[in-house]
Symmetry: C2
Subunit: 95 residues, 2 copies
Amino acid sequence: MSNTDIWGDLADLFKIFGDSSRIRILYRLLEREYSVNVLADELDMTQSAVSHQLKILKMNKLVRSRREGKQIFYSLADDHVSTILSMGREHIEEM
Amino acid sequence: MSNTDIWGDLADLFKIFGDSSRIRILYRLLEREYSVNVLADELDMTQSAVSHQLKILKMNKLVRSRREGKQIFYSLADDHVSTILSMGREHIEEM
DNA sequence: GTTACATATGAATGTTTATTCATATGTTTA
DNA sequence: TAAACATATGAATAAACATTCATATGTAAC
């Protein structure tokens, strides 16, 4: 092994995108920031399920959160997400 | 739902990259074509494990195979793989 | 045809993981 | 401070999946 497990890290990154719930969440956040409840409503998911997935996305620095009163708004952490997503879509459409 | 599950397809694509064994296989195939045994040797994996993973990669049209005598050589199906991999690496390195 | 080699495959196992349920934490308003 | 609302979290469950083992299929040489 080398000093850092580059393949493990890469696989972990892609693993995050390898779930349709997370993909759908990220696609929403591509337009604008969302609160947890609104996300859950629009995606027809449980508040709990959305919260769990958002935690994973945040731990991996793909989204960030901002509190406003009782609500917490989530948004994309940077623009890598959008490039990775569109990269994937290109491949899909050309298959 | 729409006619086709675009998010499911996208997630499925990324799921393939979400495993370090497959990532390592793909990285080898980035240089040149490989037979199953040589891949297994160099990656320190079982012949069976490599074969199983190659099947998944082939089913998803990420690699293709060519028979030469007793051996079967695998190579990348197109250059999407390389772009997706480098996209991921960029993100990793900037974290 | 039989032996040796290369790859594929099916079943079993263990691990990972997404979701659900119940409840806890945090925030605002009355 | 109590009640209502928004989100987070821990445990449990079920499903997905990578690997191993044993064996099957396919190919070449003898």
